[in-house]
Point group: none
Chain length 305, copies 2
DNA sequence: GTCACTCCTGAAAGATATTTTCGGGTCCGG
DNA sequence: CCGGACCCGAAAATATCTTTCAGGAGTGAC
């Protein structure tokens, strides 16, 4: 008894169930029991050792090994590996049922999956819908700017701060405003080489539009990052960057996906500017990194050894 | 603060590459070599025995086993099984599409595509690596909290504010701190039913750890959102939520992906809490939405038609 | 600069798991 | 009823994985 198995077949990848059925007639009773268990529950079987599977099927280790051989594997170890692969495939196969809305009684694992999926979707949409010409123009304006002012309130205010934090790290003069009064008084002082950016999902947030209008009228280059390019804010914007709008629901406020979208746009702006001003940006980034190292404790997992 | 390894995570099925990246900094040199080989070629590695992998990486069997343990598996055998599953998934599934790093002379369209892809990847990794048990525990604590304090500086400070903004909208009493002194003086007043959350990518930001420690010692429930579950911050955390770490580069600072990852975690926390407190959260959300409507101009696209 | 200390590291012993061997048992045909 | 072929599982043999232990490199303190 040497090569019994089907025509020198290589280790079957996924066609295992089929192979079991094909070979079943040529199997002995005990081997059939083993093969059946294997085909019926790959995942469960993959978790078992030879002895375990032997006990489960009421047979012996030897029989299990013989079955594995018959199925085309060098031994049980390899069958088990293939089984694990099969299980993983099946697992991932039936995944994408996450399109549903988040419900009140969703288990926490579903919430994680759905949120992650939605935000991924938002990113894809944003990237697809972003006008690279407008983006390039905005980057050019920023790279040449003497001073940058960013307006945003609530969730968009955080995005504004994020952009400012980044710009500061590459040596740009930037400031974020969430106080509309201060923003306006500041906008009055802007001039031709300056850039003002308004971030508003709705495109109609008065507290943000007003300072942008003032900046616009004082000759600054103005940029709007909004989900509504037809909104009021666009009237005062030289460049409009459109963020995507995902469906919202009671448990998933619009702020969530608009924030994700806005952040991607802001990241693109930052990287674009960093590219254009690489000569000064690179050392500045390095320096800021260096300076922050001291704020971290030297011990306790901080050092990468 | 108990187990050193990643929050007692169950064997990760597909989040292996992410886990490797997350844990890599806390690994020793030899273990990193092993982890690298494993992450780089799951299929090839799955075919090797402990001894084989040890030889391939120029280390010893002991080191291989240690690495497997660190990655959350009981031993090498189980890691190998997971690897086989991963390989099978990759085989059948999508193209990995390894994105190159962002270069200084990349056209703007490439920058957008790469950033979007990287952030999507970060989201997937985070979702896969998030310990839902820890998350559930944190949600429970938050839902029952009398008062919530969130600590974070720099980029993490914005995430902290984002969480607070959300919690406020569903009627929770929450506050964000970026001033370490104020944070500490505030932490002193926390008591048993209160929750303190520290957000730090490095896990070793003193300005954030200190208030968390104080809160911990005063009996508050403490949560750490960090990319380094082995970091100092974990010593004072009742619940540890691990964010994922993407490879960074000169033009793509770590802050970018860690922020994305942190925001996903924060969103999950928020939705979880909103679910648990639906009775009060839903009307509060509706009310805040209503109240904000007046801040938008009635004309010019403000109304949703 | 030196010393003490911690922690990494691999060799080898020890424990498990897998494969092989071997003999009893069963079934069938004569 | 008897002989032969072939299943089958217990146990030995082997391979693989895990644990222990001591040497050694790197690090911080003095």
């Amino acid at each position: 008894m040497k090569e019994i198995f089907a025509g020198g077949a290589p280790p079957a990848p996924a066609a295992l169930a089929a192979k079991v059925r094909t070979l079943a007639p040529s199997m002995t009773r005990s081997m059939q029991r083993v093969a059946e268990a294997v085909a019926g529950d790959p995942a469960g079987t993959a978790a078992l050792t030879v002895t375990g599977l032997a006990e489960l099927t009421g047979t012996s280790e030897a029989t299990v090994v013989r079955t594995a051989r018959l199925l085309g594997y060098p031994g049980y170890r390899d069958l088990r590996l293939a089984l694990a692969g099969l299980a993983a495939q099946q697992q991932s196969g039936r995944a994408p049922a996450v399109t549903a809305d988040i419900a009140v009684d969703d288990p926490i694992a579903d919430v994680v999956a759905k949120l992650a999926y939605d935000e991924q979707q938002t990113l894809a949409d944003t990237a697809a819908g972003l006008d690279t010409v407008q983006l390039g123009a905005a980057v050019s304006a920023l790279a040449a700017a003497r001073r940058v002012e960013v307006y945003g309130v609530a969730a968009s205010g955080l995005v504004a701060q994020d952009l400012v934090q980044k710009l500061l790290r590459i040596g740009q003069v930037a400031h974020a405003h969430s106080d509309p009064h201060l923003a306006v008084t500041n906008a009055v002082t802007l001039r031709a080489k300056d850039v003002a950016i308004a971030i508003t999902h709705s495109g109609s947030t008065g507290d943000v539009i007003e300072p942008l209008r003032v900046a616009f009228e004082h000759g600054a280059t103005t940029v709007a990052i909004t989900g509504r390019p037809d909104g009021l804010v666009s009237q005062y914007a030289d460049h409009i960057l459109t963020t995507s709008t995902a469906r919202e629901s009671e448990l998933r406020p619009a702020a969530m996906s608009s924030r994700t979208s806005q952040l991607l746009v802001v990241d693109c702006l930052f990287v674009g500017v960093a590219q254009r001003t690489y000569e000064t940006a690179a050392p500045a980034l390095a320096a800021s990194y260096e300076a922050l190292a001291h704020r971290h404790s030297p011990r306790g997992g901080g050092g990468s050894r």
